[in-house]
Amino acid sequence: MEAVLTPLFGALRLCAQLFLIIVPLTMFYEFVKSRQSSLAGRSRAFLGISGRGLIPLFTGIIIGLTYGAGVIIHSIRSTDIGKGEAFLILLYLSVCHAIIEDTLIFVVLGANGLILVGARFFLATLLTYAVYRARLIRGR
């Protein structure tokens, strides 16, 4: 009996820990979602991604691909973001998304959060920049 109860207790405790992380985050996500139109006014380009592209980019970095899918798909399709730019956005997001949640749930088990966040931002920026530069050179 104990052989079943101890793991079950362990599993439920893990769920409870994750619950305490997830609920504040989803509340924060909804808040960000309701505010994100204020980003649209920015027009400075970043790594070949224009101001309009920053909405799906930031949504993905903070909220993640699964939960933010609606906003990301909609904002890429409904504006005149080109295929090349959309690829850069999704390349960045593939490597670096849901940065808060993904990090915290592993920190619970003892991971070093700083390394996780730093490495993902660094790699995503490096990769996106490399593809952007490569295109500029090919385009000439």
Partner: protein, 162 residues
């Protein structure tokens, strides 16, 4: 935007009244979303966790560790961690955590696994989403898996240096 509207927006009276209302509704929506995510998470975590405990109880974990040991050695990880990576790549991070938790790895190993899985996870769910935006999903999938494996090896080398 015309200047009159802009000064209008800076005034606290004009902003705060509608927002207070929205915040309560927004937070409630967020809480309900969190609850439904937690329900989905429990459905994934409890079975994965119990199966791993069962495998461990029966002594099979050493066998699995032996089979994957040489490959996982590339990342400086014990062989059992192959189960964590497979769960994370194919299912989602919650499944990976459910497998990882009863195995009790060191913080360094957890960091390596977390970074590898952070770069590539839930591939069965996220690849269709990237496809829907209309870009080449296959190349992104390959980039993610390659990057995940490369970064795992790189982090292993870095750990050895320090």
């Amino acid at each position: 935007m015309d200047p009159a509207a802009r000064t209008c927006r800076r005034r606290p009276f004009n902003i705060q009244l509608p927002i207070v209302d929205t915040i309560a509704v927004t937070l409630k929506k967020g809480f309900l979303n969190g609850l439904s995510i937690t329900v989905e998470m429990v459905k994934v975590i409890v079975p994965f966790y119990l199966v791993v405990e069962l495998i461990r109880y029966m002594g099979l974990i050493k066998l699995i560790g032996g089979v994957f040991g040489p490959f996982m050695g590339l990342f400086g990880l014990p062989g059992e961690s192959a189960l964590v990576l497979i769960a994370g790549y194919t299912t989602n991070l919650y499944a990976a955590i459910a497998v990882l938790s009863p195995l009790h790895f060191s913080p360094r190993n957890v960091t390596t696994i977390a970074l590898m899985l952070g770069l590539a996870h839930s591939l069965t769910v996220e690849t269709p989403i990237t496809k829907k935006t209309g870009v080449g999903a296959l190349s992104l999938l390959l980039v993610r898996i390659a990057l995940s494996l490369l970064v795992g090896m790189a982090l292993n080398l870095l750990w050895k240096l320090f």
